[in-house]
Amino acid sequence: MQSNKLICLVGLALGLALVPGAQAALKTGDAFPALADFHLTGPVPADLAGKVVIVDFWASWCGPCGESFPAMDELQKKFGAQGLVIIAVNEDENKSDMDDFLKTHTVSFTVVRDAKQSLVEVAGIGTMPGSFVLGRDGKVAFAHNGYHGSETKKQYEQEILSLLK
């Protein structure tokens, strides 16, 4: 009898351990985790307090990510002086892929690398590219799944303007 109970317990524990866990994505109103906790490489901004921040997750193999870069660059140039900081977080497995991509996509915003894919795991984006627009309080004000050209750019502008007020 004891052994049966033990088998049941071991089976249940094994089953629960092996079943993939539900992805806990960041939601609107959640505090965005501190970037310093994730061993990001690159010029990670030291102080983002009081800034409106867009954290954009991208990879070189993601077509829409490349399409979004010129628009993001434009937004950074347009609203940077007012307190907008765009941080593009690269999720490529190989750094060389990121470097090659950046040779043909010159941008004025910050690009950092999440080599261990730990930040994106916590953020739990639904698709690539995925981004979060953070208010001056560091909380997620808006979340974006994918980049759909001028439609998404317009949304970004409206959101940035509402948060910069």
Partner: protein
């Protein structure tokens, strides 16, 4: 002896709980699709060869299309 059916049920439940974990299935997260998004993973990467194959299948087997495979590609947007 009344506990025996309960134990059997518990054994069955534990087996069922273990099954999803041992199937070898793994969710590929959106940021892990680099390999799947590679050009060489595309079935239709050569349009000429694709058109010829389609023609052969259509003329020999009266079959066309239906080659889409769920889960491949970049999965972006």
């Amino acid at each position: 002896m009344k506990t025996r059916p309960l134990i059997r049920l518990a054994l069955l439940l534990s087996l069922l709980a273990t099954l999803p974990g041992v199937t070898g299935c793994q969710n590929v997260k959106p940021w892990q699709r680099g390999t799947l998004a590679d050009y060489t993973m595309k079935q239709d990467r050569d349009p000429t060869s694709e058109a010829l194959n389609e023609h052969i299948w259509f003329s020999r087997e009266t079959a066309a299309g239906g080659k889409g495979v769920g889960g491949g590609g970049c999965g972006c947007n």
